[in-house]
Amino acid sequence: MKTLKSLGYLLTLPLILLAWWWIATSGAANFFVPTPAKLAETFIDTWMGEKLLTDVLPSVIRLVVGVLAAIVLGIGLGLAVGLNRTMRAVTEPVFEFFRALPPPVLVPVLMLLVGINDGMKIAVIISGCIWPVLLNTIEAVRSIDPVQNETSRSYGISGLSRIRYQVLPSATPTIMAGVRQCLSIGLILMVISEMFASSSGLGFTIVQFQRSFAVPEMWSGIVVLGLIGVALSFIFQWCERRVLRWYHGLKEVENAV
């Protein structure tokens, strides 16, 4: 009963939007807006075949590799910087500079430096995704509870053990908030990295459709992007619930008081 109810909540709005779209397009046919039936047909024709392997899968793999690398690098660097006052003072202005750069402008630069390949596309994704994770990690580590620190010290928990047993777990809620932002940035950059000098991938394909006035196909590509976004978000939520079960419970108790 409970799952049925939550499934109902999940599907209500999408169904309403679908119905609205169906009604709005059932009369006069607009060349630029396909009907739901037409789009569904195009979607299956376009993507449920060769393109799934040649365009969607490589894009998704690059996205996943880029995002994971950004998370690992962001947390690693964030720990190093956050735990060291001098490092923070030295790196902060530099970070602000690089963070302010919009990653799309880096695409031509990276093309020259890395070459036109998967490495360049992954580098673009990392260059944008790393910031929320890195900055959140620094902030989380910097603002660790001093009583927790003293507890660790008094029980001889120091160095790497301290990072493992105290610093990382206590920083996880803030880091996860950074990871959530990093996912949506990753999706945008995945598309953008494929729009320049590319011959395959989701972004490339959608641009091709746009340029050849294949309107329903273009729309179906956008739907694929949306679905990837939804899938990422669900995977993230599932992970977050496992990793941060203690945190959500703690917040519930605190809010109840």
């Binding site: 509870d145 009583v147 927790q148 003293e150 507890t151 010290r153 008094s154 029980y155 001889g156 928990i157 053990s161 047993y165 105290q166 777990p169 206590s170 996880t172 203690w246 945190y247 419970g249 703690l250 108790v253 605190e254």
Partner: protein, 287 residues
């Protein structure tokens, strides 16, 4: 009335060389801030013998927490030294465990009760089987054997502080330092926890230094009470609590001796608050 006065020392009691487990000698702590220096502790000297239960009591702002952190090796001293078993303390020693006032922040909320108790042992490389026994015994000793799988924040304040005590006990320290551990729990829980400390102390033979601002608590718990002056802190008086070893919340607290001791400590604290300083009194006599 003279005979009713407790056995006392002006200044801290010291033991002959080699007999003390914990020695504090001429400890001074000055905090250097941008706005100028703050002298939190001026000059403290006292000894703790092996197996003693000593309470430190003083007016608020008398540097009790500072002193405890210096002893725990969490803060460096400006002058003087603290020795544990003859060795000068430069960082948190292995043979010491601290119970902090802020139990909610000292326990790790991402670990369950048993995991919190186990963590220091795991970090110290104690084998798994041994850890399991120590954790079970410690939780049993504080009356929490039934909630090992709960998270600390699911428990009441008093129970959380019990978890923190269990964590300290499982670590098998020689010295247990407690920094106003019951200041944030309600009165009834507090009475239970006081009895718990007495029973843990007796069972394990551990040396306890218990910091509090509560005069009644210090007398009820301690075998000895060290009274601190107001800041900058020196030892005002060091008295022996000659109450029966078996303490009971009702019986002991209604003993005439308890009331006498309470009067005495209270009067000393009042004197301390008014700025009476034993060192100055002594200096005046010498002059």
């Amino acid at each position: 009335m003279q005979s009713n006065n407790p056995t006392s020392h002006a200044g801290g009691r010291t033991l002959p060389e080699g007999e003390a487990l914990l020695s504090v000698r001429n400890l001074k702590k000055v905090y250097r801030t941008d706005a100028g220096d703050i002298e939190a502790v001026r000059n403290l000297t006292f000894d703790l013998g092996r197996g003693e239960l000593v309470c430190l009591v003083g007016p608020s702002g008398s540097g009790k927490t500072t002193l405890l952190k210096c002893i725990a090796g969490l803060l460096g001293s400006t002058e003087g030294e603290v020795r544990l078993d003859g060795e000068v303390i430069t960082g948190p020693p292995k043979k010491m465990a601290v119970v902090f006032q802020e139990y909610g922040r000292s326990l790790f909320p991402w670990l369950r009760v048993a995991e919190n108790v186990e963590l220091p042992l795991k970090n110290a490389g104690v084998p798994k089987a041994e850890r399991k026994v120590l954790v079970e015994q410690a939780l049993e000793a504080v009356g929490l054997a039934h909630v090992p799988k709960s998270y600390p924040w699911q428990l009441s304040g008093g129970m959380q502080q019990r978890v923190a005590i269990a964590r300290a006990v499982a670590y098998q320290p020689e010295v247990l330092l407690m920094d106003e551990p019951f200041a944030a729990v309600d009165a009834q829980t507090r009475a239970d926890l006081e009895d718990l400390i007495r029973s843990v102390w007796k069972k394990l033979g551990v040396t306890v230094l218990f910091v509090t601002h509560d005069i009644d608590e210090s007398i009820y718990l301690g075998e000895r009470v060290i009274i601190l002056s107001s800041s900058p802190t020196v030892v005002q008086e060091d008295i022996v609590i000659d109450l029966p070893a078996e303490r009971d919340q009702l019986e002991t607290r209604s003993l005439p001796r308890f009331t006498e001791l309470r009067h005495h400590v209270y009067a000393e604290i009042q004197k301390a608050k008014q700025g009476h300083r034993p060192e100055e009194a002594i200096t005046m006599v010498v002059k």
